[in-house]
């Protein structure tokens, strides 16, 4: 039983590393902000803001998990921001990273539910 738990924790750590590594490649140009169809004036309604929130939460525990969930589930997964990053030749994949964070949160909650 214990081995199983360690394995699952490892997979969570791997996911976190993958997410954080991807966010580190962001050059903070904010070109993705006007690209986001959900942007209505608040920076957290854009890929830049969502990635910043994910980074701060995973690295320093800032912001509640419910708030983070609300931010990442308000993304339309349309990849318009990702297209902009691709054009700028950065390696950031904001939409994929946001989806990966959803998967991370769901996996964490499912694990907590089991323990």
């Amino acid at each position: 039983m214990k081995t199983d738990n360690t394995q699952e924790t490892d997979s969570i750590k791997e996911m976190e590393t993958e997410i954080l590594n991807n966010i580190q490649t962001c050059i903070n140009c904010r070109m993705c902000v006007p690209m986001c169809p959900t942007y209505e004036g608040w920076i957290t309604q854009s890929a830049f803001g969502r990635l910043a929130a994910i980074n701060l939460h995973l690295k320093y525990g800032l912001g509640s998990i419910e708030e983070l969930s609300r931010l990442i589930f308000s993304c339309a997964n349309c990849r318009r921001c990702q297209e902009r990053c691709k054009m700028l030749s950065t390696n950031v994949t904001p939409t994929d990273t946001i989806i990966k964070t959803r998967q991370l949160l769901a996996r964490k909650a499912q694990e907590w539910g089991r323990n």
Binding site: T38, E40, F73, A76, R79, Q103, A106
Partner: protein, 337 residues
Amino acid sequence: MNKSLKEVVPIPHIYIRGNILEKGNMLGVAGDKAAWAKDLNLPRNAEFTFFAGCGYQFMRYVEGMMKAAASMEKIGLGMERSIGISKVFGKIGINLPSITAKVTAAGKEDTYTIILVSAARILQKLGVDIGYMYEDEPCCGSPLYYSGFLDDYIENANKNFEVFKSLGIQRLIGLIPACTASLRDYYPKYVEGYDLEVYHFIEVVAQRLKETNIKPKLKEKLTIAYHDPCQLSRYLEIVDAPREVMASIKGLELREPDPEQCKQWSTCCGGGGLEAGSPELCERLGLRRVEELLNTGANVIVSHCPACVMQLKRSTEKMKADVNVMDLVEILDEALG
């Protein structure tokens, strides 16, 4: 510190997951999945297998359910409360969403499943040898992926690959962009030995129109604005094929919105995933997109994805705009005669 699933994933997404895992479709609607194909006599085995997906088959139910949900919101019951109520009914053996959907969809002309029939007919007219899996067609599971249930998605993908293999299927033609992207781009990452060739309907059509001498022609002239679905333009990266098809149709005039709003920069209409968790935001996105498309001066809005078509229809109705919303399949079917 420890949170439950309900606190980190919006409840509608959890509900959709349950439906896919237990009932094999997003909505949990019990019904004959293959009913649309009964008059087509499609073989089970052919060079290509047509993958119909859940979207067009169940869209009329979604329309009905969204309207029911909106009226529940008006009387003070939010989406989450309505789902809670239907779960209580579920415990005593009554499938409320199925009943609501059937009642709200009853007597209404089904404009969505007819698109599947048209699509299959178009492929046949263009000489593509297609088959259909009928009731064996599984749900590709893509909502599981976007809602965060990666483990369930992987399990479902592996199970589906077994089904495809056991039926000797090698080449798929998908119609719904999200299903096609899931089958073409995500399955190979999570299924060992995945070797199916996956094409999107419009790619095949564009290719066949080039190879054959068939010239589609409309009886009446149409001026249209085309909305590139996100899943088709940015996930599958197909932007030229629909334009080639539209250019080949005589009597069709395409008006493009601003270059920053079409092709790979197409603005999202808000249909699809956002609907479940943030209906109000989704509505605002739809209205903004319709405005962009109407600025082209076109009197018909055309798209090629069930979620986009439904969302654009709803938005134009809300704006009381005098404009028709159609799927590219409907236009092509008419032009091919």
